[in-house]
Structure formats: C-alpha cells, structure tokens
C-alpha cells in the first residue's frame, strides 16, 4: 500500500497544531505529512489562548508532559472565566469548569438552588463551585484520589502563549516525521473534478499531495479557490467588527480569564505567567476607534503605541469546510469572537474530527458530508453559546448592548432559553462544546433564573435541603483553603523551563 501524502498550507498556530496532531496520529508508513510555510503573518490569533479542558486531553493524547508544556509556553492554570460586572453591575461570578453542587436524591443540584432562589436566597451561585472558591482564594491543586472518588473535581485548563505553543507543536511534529517546505503559493493545480493535485509555489516548486489542509487563517487561501466555496457572515448573529489586542504586565492571578462589558462591546484578559493579553472587541457603529483605543489602554494599563491598531474582524464561517480533497482548519474554516472562546480548541476539534473520519483507503464523499454536517452543528452551538453570553450581559445597556436583545437566535437557543426559563431544564443538543452543567451554571451565575422549580421537589424537606446545601458550600470553601497557593505551584513548574 502506498502511503498517502497530506499537505498543510500555513505557518501559524493552526498549521503547526494540525501538523503535530497528524504526525502523532499516523506513522510515516501510513501518511506522509508535508507543511508548506509561506512565512508571512497568518490572520489568526497569535498571542494567547484561554483553553478549554479538552486542551489537556489533546496534550495527553500527544504524550506531552503538561509540566514541560507549561514551562515552555508561559502557561498558567485556568479554573474558569470570571464575569466581572457582566450581568449585574458590581457582581462578580466565576464560571468554573468543575461542577456546581452535587445531585441530591437523584435530582440535579441546580433545581435546589432554583428552589431556594424562589424563597429569596441571595447566595452567590459560585459558592457551590470548588473551582470558583479556589480561584477567588488564588488557590490551586490536584485533588487526590479519595476526593475524586467522593465526587469532587477541580477540572482545569491552561492559558498559553500562542507563539511559544506553535514552536512546541513544530518541534513535536518535526521530531515525528514532518517535512517542512518554505514558500508561498502561486496557484493551485486542480484535476478535472476540481480536486487539488498540487500547490505550485512562487519559486516554481510543485508540492503534490492526496489531501490538503488550508491553515492559512481567515484569508482561506486554498478553499476560497475551490468551486462552490461560500463564506457565511455572522454580522447579525455576532454584531462586532473590530478588535484591539494589547499586551500588558503579568496579572495578579492567572486562574481566570476575565470578561467584562464596556460601552462598545466587551473586554477580555488572558493572564500568562509573564504578561497578559488584553483585548477589546467592539462594534464600530457604537464606539469610535479612538474611544475604543482609549478604553483598551485604560483596561490594559499600558502606554499608547502607534504600533497597535484596531483589527477588523469578520465573524462567520465557510459554508463547507471540507471541499473536495481540501479541509479548512481554524480561522480558515470559521471566525468566532473572542468571547468564551479557545482558538486551540477550535483548531484541535477540527483536526481530531478529520482523523476520526479520514479513511486511509482514500477520500470519499461520505467523509466530507459527515464532517461538514458535524462541524456545522458544532459551530451552531458555539454560536448559541456566544450569543447567550451577549444576552446575559445586562450590566451595560447603552452602546453596543442596546442592540443585543435584537440579535437573531437559532431555534435551538430559543428552545434552550424557553425550556430553562419555564422549569429549569436544559435542552442538550448533539455535538455541544459545553456540557449541560456549564450552560446551567452560566445561566444561573448570571442571574437567569427559571420561573418554576422542578415538580420533583414538591414536598421535599426544606430544612434538610438547606442543611445539605450549606454543607456543600462549607466543604467547598474548606477544601479550597487547603489547596496550595497558585504562585507556589507555578513557581515549581517554572524551574523546568
């Protein structure tokens, strides 16, 4: 059997991650992987990433030591997102990865929280999250087996420096069997069916292959030349068009990605070990570039610099991601906003799905159809999640936020909201990026309360419920207090750099 030859076009994060994942999954006898690096800046995130928990599974599958990776990518541990002043002025809510409360008598924990809320309870929902309690106390640690068996978890992800992360992926891929060619695309050689036969570079070099990956960022250099390609804009669904990225000094704590509303849109900060990425995403209809720049500079606490200019962003996706024998990965496939988003997850999810569906026997239409369907579904749910964040951002009502209630929603999101509002049930779709518990805690933590509690709770022993919920809160805060100081753990990891 002859080995297939896969060609990646791109030199940014998405290209290197794709190369590392492919070379890790297939031996050179099965698939030969070639990367063509155009050596120019790719239009995709390149400073920092705020990962999801899937990031750690990805590293484990690559057999990369987390400790080494953290040392090499200026990483910090991430326990969740801190919504500062998001749904209610002055309210802070930590949306942690780990669970909130635990089931009682076979009924979801959150139903009890709903019940007490209806009785006037003002306890912050994140008092029930170990992750939130730990993050608030700047504590972190790895739970021992006993605790995990008792149902506790302190799931986490990482904040990483993307340029260092790219380097690491490059090293991993090259160490396996990646072949790297430097050169820029001149044109594509297509066969009669429209499949790509080869990339012809400006140097005249012809790089042939059986399958091609477009990792060229939001320019989508390869796929946009293929027949029938179309870009679907989300200008109504995610109505923002500008972003300012600033790099400032290290934050006080690295355990949360911070989000807060501002007039033109929202502010996000990703804390790394040695620096912090501050970004302001906005809609230029509601905020001028100058005003946005001033807001971003105040937020980041840095000096004004001519080197930084607002970037234009175009949220949207390709109608199809896998076209003929070419697959768009990362920004080439779709652009979400930087709101509760991990670019690494976006890229890795695409590559892993390819590996799942790719048949070494050859490319077939079934694989492409399946890939496109699943990815469309996944994107739709991510879009729902980002929209929900916008809907919850009620701490500000002027500027950009005056328009968020008019954002068109998918039927799935509408159903989710209605069902939840009515009786605290979460409609869970296939191929969701966020688990039901994450949706529920996002909603409740941001004061989106159901009108009714679960009927299963009728006749429950209120005194007992209050006692057990009180115990849960106490156990969380006691457990959080026993964890190590964040600085201490990160310090140990730094030695390995």
């Amino acid at each position: 059997m002859t080995s297939h030859r896969l060609v990646i076009y791109g030199g940014g994060v998405s290209a290197w991650v794709t190369a590392a994942a492919l070379t890790n999954a297939y031996t050179v006898d099965v698939l030969k992987v070639v990367l063509v690096n155009p050596g120019v800046n790719t239009k995709e995130p390149s400073i920092a990433d705020s990962g999801f928990t899937s990031l750690r599974r990805f590293h484990a599958s690559m057999r990369i030591s987390e400790r080494e990776l953290m040392g090499q990518t200026s990483a910090t541990f991430k326990l969740g997102a801190l919504y500062k002043n998001w749904s209610k002025p002055g309210q802070n809510f930590i949306h942690g990865f780990s669970n909130y409360g635990s089931m009682l008598d076979g009924i979801d924990f959150h139903q009890y929280a709903v019940l007490l809320h209806q009785c006037g309870d003002t306890t912050a929902f994140d008092a029930y999250s170990l992750a939130a309690q730990a993050a608030a106390a700047k504590k972190f640690g790895f739970l021992n087996k006993d605790l995990v068996e008792q149902g506790f978890n302190l799931d986490y992800s990482l904040h990483v420096d993307l340029s260092q992360y790219s380097q690491l992926m490059q090293t991993c891929a090259v160490r396996k069997h990646l072949e790297v060619i430097c050169g820029q695309l001149d044109h594509l050689n297509l066969d009669a069916d429209g499949n790509i036969k080869a990339l012809v570079l400006t140097s005249g070099e012809v790089v042939g292959g059986d399958f091609f990956f477009d990792c060229s960022g939001s320019d989508s250099v390869l796929v946009r030349q293929l027949p029938g390609d179309k870009f679907l804009k989300w200008d109504k669904e995610l109505p923002v068009n500008k972003q300012i990225d600033l790099v400032g000094g290290a934050a006080k704590s690295g355990l949360c990605t911070d989000l807060s509303v501002c007039r033109g849109g929202w502010l996000k900060s990703i804390p790394l070990k040695d620096k912090t990425l501050y970004s302001l995403t906005y809609n230029s209809e509601y905020e001028s570039d100058d005003a946005a720049m001033t807001a971003a500079i105040n937020f980041a606490g840095v000096e004004l610099s001519d080197a930084v200019q607002p970037l234009t962003i175009v949220p949207g996706r390709r109608e199809r991601f896998w076209v003929k024998n070419c697959l768009a990965i990362g920004a080439a496939a779709g652009n979400f906003t930087e709101l509760t988003f991990s670019y690494l997850h976006h890229v890795q999810s695409g590559v892993l799905r390819f590996i799942d569906l790719y048949s070494a026997a050859g490319v077939n239409d079934f694989s492409a159809q399946q890939y496109n369907q699943l990815t469309s579904d996944e994107y739709a749910r991510v879009l729902d999640y980002q929209q929900l964040n916008l809907l919850l951002g009620a701490a500000e009502s002027s500027g950009f936020w005056s328009c968020t209630s008019k954002i068109p929603r998918t039927a799935e999101l509408q159903r989710k909201l209605s069902l939840f509002k009515e009786r605290g049930k979460l409609a869970f779709e296939e191929y969701e990026t966020w688990m039901p518990g994450s949706w529920v805690s996002l909603l409740l933590g941001n004061n989106y309360w159901p009108e009714k509690h679960d009927v299963l709770l009728n006749g429950c022993n209120l005194e007992l419920v209050v006692k057990r919920l009180g115990q849960m809160r106490m156990v969380n805060s006691n457990l959080a207090a026993q964890l190590s100081d964040e600085d201490e753990i990160l310090g140990k990891y730094a030695i390995l750099k």
């Binding site: 006037g120 309870d121 003002t122 209120l462 209050v466």
Partner: protein, 504 residues
C-alpha cells in the same frame, strides 16, 4: 482568696416551685453551679401553680441555649407546640383579626424601615395588607412551621419563634434538670419568715412541722402571695389597675379538636379577653376579665361557651392585681415571677420576665459583704422593663373602636401614660416608631398592634420618595411572591412536630 471565700454567699434559698422557682433553680445550678453554692428550693405540693398552658416569646430560646437544653427534648416532655405569634380577634372591633408576629415585615430598603415604604404604597392603593409581608404571619395563617433556615437574604432566615407548652410539665422538666445538677428540694409549706433583728435581712424560713431553712440569700418565687418580698419585707406595691382594669382570670383546659396551630389566640370579650393556647395533647384556655364589669359566674359562662373542645377540668378562678412591687430586690431577697408584679398574659411576657430577672440577678450576683450593691441597678432596669411592657399592653385596650360595653368605653377613653401617648402621636403624625433603649417590644410589634387596632399614620418619611413608585411596587410584589413561595415549601406545623418533637 480567704476574703473572697469568707464573703461569698454560701446558701441560696428559693421559696416556691412552679415555673419561676424551677427556672431560677435550673439557671443557678447551671451558671453558678452547686459546688460553689448550696441551692435549696422549698415548695409544697399542696399549693398549685398558676401556669395553665403557657405561651412564650422567642427570647426563651436563649434561656434554653444557656442551659444547653435540647429544644426537641424539652418540647416532647412538655407537650409543646411552636408559636409564631398571637392572633388578636375582636380587639379593634368585633369580627376583626390581626396577628402580632414574631418577626419583621418585609426588609429595610436603603436603611429605612420597610413600613415607611408600605405606608406610601398603601396611600397609592398599591400595597397588599401588612400581613402579606410577614412570613411569620403568613405561615401562622397557613398553619405551617419550620425553624428559621440559614438562607441568605430569604424571609425564611428572618423570623422568630417561641413555644406553647404545659407549664406544669415545664416545671417538672426543669426540676429534673436542677436536681440532677445538685439543687436540693425540700417539700414543705412555709409557715413563717424570720428576719435578722439588726439588718432586717431574711434569716430563715420555717416550715409547717417545724423545720427551719436558713440561708444567705433568698429568692421569692411564691407567686401572687409574695410571702418574702411583701409578707416579710413589706416592700410595697404600685397599683396599675386604672390602666389595666382586669383583675381576675378563670382558666380551664379543653380537649383538642384539631391539630394544634402555631400561634396563640387572644379573643376580646365584653369585659376582658380569652386566651387559647394549643398544645400537643390539649388546649389551654382562660378568660381574663375585670370583676367590676363582669361576675365570676358570667365570666366562667363566657369561657365555657367559647371553648372549641370539651372542658377537661373544673374552671379555676384566679385573682390578681396588675402592678409591680416597689422594689424587686430588697435586702437579701429578690422577687422573681408573679411575686415581683403582675402583668396579664396578653403578650405572653410572664416567662420572659422571669428569664430577664434571672439573668440580671446572675450578672449582679452579690456577696455577703456587698449584699445590696446591685439592687439599685437591678430595680431601675426592672422598673423600665415592666413599664414598657405595661404601656404596650395598655395600647391593646386603648386603641379600640368598641363601644359595646362599659368596659370598652372605659378603656377607650381612659388616660394613658405619657410614654404611650407620645409613641402613638409620633406614629400618627410621621409614621415613625422609636424603640427606647432595650424595651422589649420593637418596631414590628408596635406596628402590628398600631395597624391591627386602627391607629394609622397620616404621613410617611419623605426619604421614601427617592424610589420611583413603580419600582417600589415591583419590589413589594416580588417580596410577596417570595413569601408565598416560602410558605408553599414550609411543612405543616403538624408535620414539623411529628418529624422533630412529637410527645411520646
């Protein structure tokens, strides 16, 4: 050390059992201890106690805590039920009812009392009845109960409760407690009290049959007879019957005809009022009346006619005079319980007064050398306590629209103490209620009775206007909804007793 122990009081004698005697004995045995002090209690089984069914106020929880009494245990042993307040029927006028709850109305807004906002909403026609904003009242009306729950910001965390129990069993329960901790009980009827010729201090008590009990310090718990403080020490009594003209009570328990409700009922009649105290096994009843307006027979008839179950003991008439002892601590004697004064049980204050007397006594507990040094402070504070409760009781009689009897005509038009007059005036003209020092009844209590008995504020605090009316109405509506939800989820009183403290 020697000076200290020489001067220390060695023997404390409590004259009289009953609720006052045994509460005192139990508290002293716990707090002072019987290794340092000999605590003796003399009582006679021949002499009955006044308590029939006793209703309390939330402060009793504190007493239980100090004594480390398990609430459920004590409730089981005394056939106790929970109490969320008192329902007053026919006081403002016949057919009208309100509840004086243990707990507040609503929650303060911007540091201003809830009722100021309520007054405004009411004047705009947007407020519900005052009682819809009181979780204790709403729970009582729905016969529901739970102990307050630790839920931040919820009305469920913010109300009080007390108990209704069989006073005889309570005394028995405390007797067991006190004896287990070393209190020595002597059975016997006191025949005389001997004084020291020089100091005038009480030296000893002689019992029928010749026994003599000497002591350093004496506590008079002999009830209305006040054998020590009045009989021996001739302390004197200040009569308040011109303000509170009831001077008799006829009491009789009856069978329970329904599951006990979590509140006491006080129903006004033509010359007084009737209590109804639901216990686990039976219902305590009594008719308090003014004998100058109604005969004993008539009063007994009214009581029997208004029982909801079959009477289970012969009605017993008790005479009293409302007022207070001129001094509560005189020489080496402190009067605790009815020997210290009498205030009718309209607001269930008898046990509370026993409790505060005990706690003041413990705080100011004397030595042999400085026997009376704490007396002045003790007496001053007790006078204050008595007078403030007295004024609150007078309000119930004064604030009425009833014109159906000479009794009510007298009460409606009688002169009242200046403190009460000023308090009413302030509320009517400004809606404000001031609590003086540590007076027992606080703002919600006064509000409940003012509004329940037809005293209405003509204005509200101007600061209230800073909140838009629509927002205010919205907040009140939300609060009312929260209360309704809380009530939905509270267990019934019956269920709660069954789960926690059902008498065996």
């Amino acid at each position: 050390m020697d000076i200290m122990s020489d001067n220390k009081i060695k023997k404390i004698v409590i004259a009289g059992g009953g609720t006052a005697g045994w509460m005192t004995a139990a508290a002293l045995s716990k707090v002072l201890g019987c290794t340092n002090y000999d605590v003796h209690l003399v009582e006679s089984e021949e002499i009955g106690t006044i308590g029939v069914g006793e209703a309390t106020i939330p402060h009793i929880q504190k007493f239980n805590q100090i004594l480390e009494i398990d609430e459920n245990e004590f409730m089981k042993k005394t056939q106790a039920t929970f109490k969320l307040g008192i329902e007053f029927i026919n006081w403002k006028k016949i057919g009208q009812s309100y509840i004086h709850p243990f707990g507040s109305y609503g929650e303060d807004i911007n540091a201003f009392p809830f009722h100021q906002y309520w007054l405004k909403l009411k004047s705009s026609g947007l407020a519900s009845s005052l009682e819809s904003y009181s979780i204790a009242t709403m729970a009582a009306r729905h016969k529901k109960f739970t102990r307050p729950l630790n839920i931040n910001g919820s009305p469920l965390s913010d109300f009080g409760y007390a108990f209704q129990f069989d006073a005889g069993r309570y005394a028995q329960f405390l007797r067991g407690y006190a004896e287990a901790r070393g209190v020595v009980r002597t059975e016997g009827k006191i025949s005389s009290v001997e004084l020291c010729e020089n100091s005038g201090y009480i030296k000893s008590l002689s019992l029928v049959g010749g026994a003599v009990i000497e002591g350093d310090f004496f506590i008079d718990c002999t009830g209305i007879r006040a054998l020590l403080i009045e009989g021996a020490l001739k302390t004197g009594f200040e009569d308040w019957s011109h303000w509170l003209p009831c001077n008799s009570a006829v009491a009789a328990p009856c069978e329970k005809i329904e599951e006990p409700i979590p509140y006491t009922r006080a129903t006004a009649h033509t010359a007084g009022w009737q209590w109804r105290i639901p216990l686990q096994h039976r219902t305590g009843n009594g008719h308090v009346y003014a004998s100058q307006y109604m005969s004993d027979d008539e009063a007994t008839g009214v009581l029997l006619k208004n029982l909801d179950g079959a009477v289970i003991a012969d009605p017993r008439v008790i005479r009293f005079k409302t007022g207070r002892r001129v001094k509560f601590w005189n020489k080496n004697c402190v009067a605790i319980g009815l020997s210290s004064g009498f205030l009718e049980p309209l607001e269930s204050t008898s046990i509370h007064l026993i409790q505060t007397a005990i706690s003041k006594l413990i705080n100011l507990f004397p030595s042999r050398r400085f026997m009376e040094d704490g007396a002045e402070l003790y007496n001053k504070n007790t006078v204050f306590e008595y007078e403030r409760i007295r004024d609150f009781l007078i309000l119930h009689y004064k604030a009425t629209e009833r014109t159906d009897s000479d009794f009510w005509n007298y009460c409606r038009s009688m002169e009242i103490p200046e403190y009460l007059r000023e308090k009413i005036k302030l509320y009517v003209s400004t809606g404000r209620i001031y609590r003086e020092n540590e007076e027992l009844f606080s703002t919600p209590s006064w509000l409940a009775v003012f509004e329940g008995q037809g005293i209405q504020a003509e204005e509200y605090h101007p600061a209230v206007d800073s909140m838009p009316l629509a927002e205010l109405a919205e907040r009140f509506k939300a609060y009312e909804q929260v209360i309704n939800k809380c009530i939905d989820f509270m267990p019934t009183h019956t269920r709660y007793i069954a789960d926690n403290c059902k008498a065996e």
